[in-house]
Amino acid sequence: MAYTKRFDGRKFDEPREMEAKVGVIKNADGSAMFRFGDTIAVAAVYGPKLFHPQHMQNPQKGVLRCNYDMLSFSVNERKKPGTSRRSQEISKVTEWALSSVVNLDSYKNTVVDVHIMILQANASTRCAGINAAALALAHAGISMKELVSSVSIGKIDDKLVVDVIKEEEDYEDGEGATDIAMAFMSKSGDIALLQLDGKIRPAELKEAIKLGEKTSKDIYELQKKALKKIGEES
């Protein structure tokens, strides 16, 4: 049976309800929450700060470290607390996505730590994490070329959909499910993250990227609004 209607009734190019809030963790130098429907991520930034041990310091530029993890009860089947291969890889691709916008040259010899925690998961967690992290970095006053906005595009059977949910990820009929996580720089539209799992034709992927960029613009508007809101309060 062809995928003609989404499980949650959304239009194919419609993301779930989104929410962004800046300043959610008092101790952090910058922090934010980003939500796609039931998927909730929080991010906290500490730094730039002294980098220990000294031999890890880079005299030419600052170091950005990302640490993505999920609460054990963010998913149906309990996730054992602590890092896994999955979380290590996501931490790294997130780090790369954010490194492309952060002006690390301004922070020689120091480290900027980004901690991302998924409070509740229903797919697209890394995208929510990147959106929250970009806000937290800006909130921490870190020098950035621009913001970065991330969204997942799915190919479910032969349909391209925006902001994939768990049920869609598990879709097996027809051409099955392809999940594509992507992140775009807010101004240039340059690609800062691309990860794909499934089966998709190159021409379809081009279309998916265009669809992703279109959605990323809406996310960017939301991010901008959340930052300005905290700006007005401070």
Partner: protein, 271 residues
């Protein structure tokens, strides 16, 4: 660690007069905020704020084989993660002694109190029982994670529901909750942690006060069988300095009063 020596001196001088920098009296808790049902994928969950300290607790329930020495009883596993996002004090990596100790103090109080009716968590003696996993996370640290985590643990357990157990597969069907709560009694396992700064005893320290603390002792209490009677289920003294017997006795004189105060806050938490 980060507290300037002169500020530490002020904290202790002011306490000697029976006052705290944030305006509280030594035996006052900060404002306690309890919110339950914060996570859709947990069988039970709670967010507790104790001033600027914030913790999240989730209950996940699975089925498991019982321990051979407790064949007819369900099991409980408690963990605490002091997240680096919650304070510059906490480093990424495997749990350090601070988080291990916090989890164990909370675990002992719950286990010994009889709050969870472990026998009712038995599905088939010697073969299948429900296993409760209680995970405590710090989101923002401003002192007293033990008591905050403990309050959140009680709230999460009180609002938890058993997942659907499929007898044929012998597995839990996640995402499908029954309307059956976790079998609990009215014996709330409330933990009260006392700190000593100079010659003064206080509860619910802020991060600054916790850094000035010379010694701490946690008591987990519950209500006994007789009306008005309370029982201590667990105690733990921490940090390198001592309490005099006199100080310890004073703490034991007030601990029941503090129990009632926290118990009151948890009254409205219902499934």
């Amino acid at each position: 660690m980060d507290l300037p020596e002169i500020t530490r001196k002020r904290i202790s001088q002011f306490l000697a007069e029976g006052k705290r920098l944030d305006g509280r009296k030594p035996l006052d808790y900060r404002k306690i905020e309890i919110e339950t049902g914060i996570s859709k994928n947990a069988e039970g969950s709670a967010r507790v704020k104790l001033g600027d300290t914030e913790v999240l607790v989730g209950v996940k329930i699975d089925v498991a084989t019982p321990y051979t020495d407790h064949e007819g009883e369900g099991t409980l596993i408690t963990t605490t993660e002091l997240l680096p996002m919650s304070s510059p004090r906490f480093e990424p990596g495997p749990p350090g002694i601070e988080s291990v100790e916090t989890a164990r103090i909370i675990d002992r109080g719950i286990r010994e109190s009889g709050f969870i009716d472990f026998e009712k968590l038995c599905i088939k003696k010697g073969e299948k029982v429900y296993s409760i996993m209680l995970d405590i996370y710090s989101i923002n640290y401003d002192g007293n994670l033990i008591d905050a985590g403990n309050i959140a643990a009680i709230a999460a357990l009180k609002t938890a529901k058993l997942p659907k157990y499929n007898e044929e597969t012998g597995k839990v069907e996640y995402g499908v909750l029954t309307n059956k709560p976790v079998p609990l009694t009215d014996k709330l396992p409330i933990n009260i942690t006392f700190h000593k700064i100079g010659e003064k005893i206080l509860v619910d320290p802020s991060a600054e006060e916790e850094e000035s603390s010379e010694a701490r002792v946690s008591f987990a209490l519950t209500r006994g069988e007789k009306k008005g009677e309370m029982l201590i289920n667990a105690a733990q003294k921490g940090e390198g300095k001592i309490f005099t017997q006199e100080e310890m006795f004073k703490i034991l004189d007030i601990v029941e009063e503090k129990y009632i105060e926290i118990e009151e806050k948890l009254k409205d938490v219902k499934n």
